[in-house]
């Protein structure tokens, strides 16, 4: 197979796998900060038990996140050498800042978080929890800044030509706050927090349904429900703002997201549909002129279509971008509906008696995960054929000296190792959930008294 395709498959696979974990860590991190903060404030042991329980799960997501993240850091160089030379001047400083400011913070405090319960004062432990959470949030900032620069490059100039060309920073802050950075950081953060919050909701909904640990599970469920409601509504705002940015900065991507081909005509907003690229037609249910309305507040305003771009400058996988984007939006709406309905039931005092709702929550954990994945797929595939939008093409960016047999070798290794890792992760999390928070706490008593 083609080196470019193999390199892209490998990158997509490794980054998608990696992206299961950091969002969970960010989301669980916030819940840990809240429960441990409540423990310090109220002195209620139940909050401590909750914190200890979620830290155990956090340790797993964080550990796999780090191990698979290090691979990403080096995969730019191994498989995308031309790209790395091109963006090093820009991307590198973001990556260095991530390592020093964010990863340094989270990884050092992690040790105290996991093993420091009996060694430091409670408030020092709380500070460590906050440090780990903030570190994981900062990590997201720098990584998304680097990716946003690829979407909407700013604050640079190009030096050299051909394989030797590279972008150099002219204005650091313009590079950091490039047109899409802020929207995308907020959107990524909120997506991550939802991933964690829905895991917490899922586990505690399961306990309540089974009649186990009801007392603390109700507490945890309420905390996570508040978080889920706030941030799922927040996603609506930041999602809209992101799309507005895409309309201005990456019109070809926006057109692909809604399957809009005509050069300059009002564009529809689809609820669901199927794009036929050859006939340039979308079959589906939607609001005529809806996209025009969202972008320009006018149902008749023209939107730049895919045909405005030469064929070699527009995404080739229009239907995939369309589907991924619509799945993300649909899940976003479902999460809002689910959270608001649960809040309503809480207000009516029936939240924990409504078994079917708890049942939905037990399985809803998968939804933000899917939304996070497909959202990134839409963002990255919508940017094609560019790896750096308008500047560097993906088919010019891979390592020239790496052969397809090299990549096949590493791709198979990744598939094998990651499959094992994923099975182990599920097994371990499941085991910790089955054991429950109290058994962990009881063990503590035994150990300290022996």
């Amino acid at each position: 197979m083609d080196v470019e395709i193999l390199a892209r498959i490998q990158f997509a696979f490794t980054i998608a796998f990696h992206y299961i974990y950091p969002p969970l860590s960010i989301g669980i991190g916030l819940i840990m900060v809240l429960t441990e903060g409540l423990y310090l404030k109220t002195g209620n042991k139940e909050y401590e038990i909750l914190t200890r329980f979620w830290i155990k799960i956090f340790a797993l997501t964080f550990g796999i996140g780090v191990a698979t993240g290090i691979i990403m850091e080096f995969e730019f160089g191994t498989n995308w050498a031309v790209y790395s030379r091109y963006v090093g001047d820009i991307f590198g400083s973001a990556l260095a800042a991530e390592g020093l400011f964010a990863f340094g913070l989270e990884s050092t405090f992690l040790g105290v978080l996991l093993f420091g319960w009996n060694r430091v004062k409670p408030w020092v432990h709380f500070v460590s929890t906050v440090g780990v959470f903030l570190g994981s949030m900062f990590s997201a900032v720098w990584i998304v800044v680097a990716n946003s620069w690829q979407q909407t490059p700013a604050g640079f100039h190009i030096v050299g030509e051909g394989l030797m060309a590279r972008a150099e920073v002219t204005d650091f802050w313009a590079m950091v706050f490039n047109p899409s950075s802020v929207d995308r950081i907020i959107h990524t953060w909120q997506g991550a927090i939802l991933a964690g919050a829905f895991l917490v909701l899922s586990v505690h909904a399961y306990y309540i349904r089974k009649g186990r640990y009801i007392q603390i599970s109700k507490k945890a469920f309420k905390i996570a429900l508040v978080v889920a409601t706030i941030f799922s509504l927040g996603q609506l705002v930041s999602g809209h703002s992101s799309a507005d940015g895409v309309a201005v900065n990456q019109p070809a991507k926006l057109a692909a997201m809604e399957g809009h081909f005509e050069k300059s005509a009002p564009a529809d907003l689809y609820l669901l549909g199927w794009v036929d690229k050859d006939k340039q037609k979308v079959t589906g249910i939607g609001i005529p002129g809806g996209l025009s309305f969202l972008v320009h507040q006018d149902f008749k305003a023209p939107i730049t279509g895919l045909n405005s771009f030469p064929v070699e400058d527009r995404p080739s996988q229009v239907n995939a971008v369309f589907q991924f984007y619509h799945i993300m939006v649909a899940i976003g709406m479902a999460l809002i509906g689910l959270s608001l309905f649960a809040c309503f039931m809480w207000w009516r005092g029936k939240l924990f008696e409504t078994k079917w709702l708890l049942w939905i929550f037990s399985f809803a954990v998968i939804l933000p995960q899917i939304a996070n994945q497909v959202g990134w797929f839409a963002a990255e595939m919508g940017r094609q054929p560019w790896v750096v939008y308008g500047l560097l093409r993906t088919n010019k960016a891979f390592s020239q000296e790496v052969t397809s047999s090299h990549i096949l070798f590493s791709l198979i290794l990744f598939l094998v190792v990651y499959s094992i890792l994923f099975v182990l992760f599920i097994y371990m999390v499941n085991k910790k959930i089955k054991h429950g928070p109290y058994e962990e706490a009881e063990k503590t008593v035994n150990f300290t008294t022996v």
């Binding site: 290090i70 590198g92 093993f115 063990k443």
Partner: protein, 345 residues
């Protein structure tokens, strides 16, 4: 070209990266080394103690790899891209063993079953050994130079060309150095029978180091004399190998006096000075082209722009004291012998 205290920015960044890689070698050196000894510890309890000796700190130690890699990417993108794509196979193996090792540390003690623990013991130890060895192999390749043509294109792309005799020797030397470091660290963290066993293992480790280091040095002098060119021009540089020799000679003496902390310092110094030795040999080249020196990667043609280096030096100046503070806090918290409790692996 911009200067700070009379030193140009690429050279400053070369020093920063040298510092980060030394930090990585010293800190992960002991946890990789501890892992390499793992199968030499016989009882399950000993193995658990050994894993828990590194458990609170190994994640933090990895920060040095993350920052070192980031710093290389940021400061010398050409070096980063050329080295990683040319050394594709060893780096992929290195990364894969890194993942397996992380999994082994997390999962080993999670189940009671003997087969489970034994399997993870093997995974943990073999990946620790392979990581140390592969790091040395890459270093050995860098010392020999790469077949680089125009546009930094690597022209030696056979699947196993990275595995040549010299690279293997440097790989073994690195492993032996890490094993020495690891044994001292474990001595610092353990008591009783396990401690006695480790005293014996440290001696083996030192012997392993002396033999492989001796062979590597001879090999270097005889077969790749061009590596030592910088040294013939500046005889003063010979102070460095002498210091590293004195540092390593101190280790067994201090260990026999049970002054492990000091022994760890000296074995770390050995590592640092050996890296300085490498840095002095190469400077200002990063990758020598074996095809034509004009295709070599140097700190000047590989460096990011002056502006970018300036920004990153600022980031380092702000970030390093913070990082140092975190590390001091972490290591002080977990000072002393390993005590297993409910939070242990």
């Amino acid at each position: 070209m911009e200067y700070f205290l009379g030193v140009d920015y690429p050279t400053l960044w070369y020093l920063v990266i040298g510092l980060l890689f030394s930090g990585y070698a010293i800190l992960e050196g002991f946890d990789f080394g501890a892992g390499a000894w793992h199968l030499f510890l016989r009882k399950d309890l000993s193995r658990r103690i050994a894993i828990n000796a590194i458990a609170p700190v190994w994640d933090a130690n990895q920060v040095w790899l993350v920052i070192g890699g980031g710093a290389l990417f940021a400061g010398f993108p050409v070096m980063y891209a050329t080295m990683l794509s040319a050394m594709y196979v060893p780096f992929m193996l290195f990364l894969m063993f890194n993942v397996l090792r992380a999994a082994a540390i997390k999962f080993r003690s999670a189940e009671e079953m003997l087969w489970w623990r034994k399997t993870w013991d093997y995974v943990y130890s073999i990946s620790s050994i392979m990581i140390s060895f592969l790091l040395g192999v890459v270093l050995g390749n860098i010392l020999q130079g790469f077949a680089l043509g125009p546009n930094y294109a690597y022209q030696g792309g056979m699947f196993f060309s990275f595995l040549n005799p010299y690279a293997i020797m440097v790989g073994l030397t690195t492993l032996s150095l890490f094993m020495t470091q690891g044994a001292i660290y474990l001595l610092l963290k353990t008591e009783g029978k396990l401690h006695v066993r480790l005293t014996f293992l440290l001696k083996k480790g030192m012997l392993f180091f002396i033999i492989s280091f001796g062979i590597t040095t001879l090999y270097t002098l005889v077969f790749i004399p061009e590596v030592t060119e910088n040294f013939r021009e500046n005889p003063l540089y010979f102070v460095v190998p002498i210091i590293s020799f004195l540092a390593v000679a101190n280790v067994p003496r201090l260990a026999s006096k049970k002054r492990y902390m000091l022994a760890l310092v000296f074995s770390s110094l050995t590592m640092a000075f050996l890296l300085i030795l490498v840095a002095l040999q190469l400077y200002p080249t990063l990758l020598i082209s074996t095809i034509d020196p004009k295709y070599s990667v140097t700190i000047y043609n590989a460096a990011s722009s002056q502006k970018s280096l300036g920004i990153m030096l600022t980031i380092v100046v702000i970030g390093t004291p913070l990082l140092a503070a975190y590390f001091i806090f972490l290591y002080r918290t977990f000072n002393g012998k390993v005590k297993l409790d409910d939070t242990s692996y």
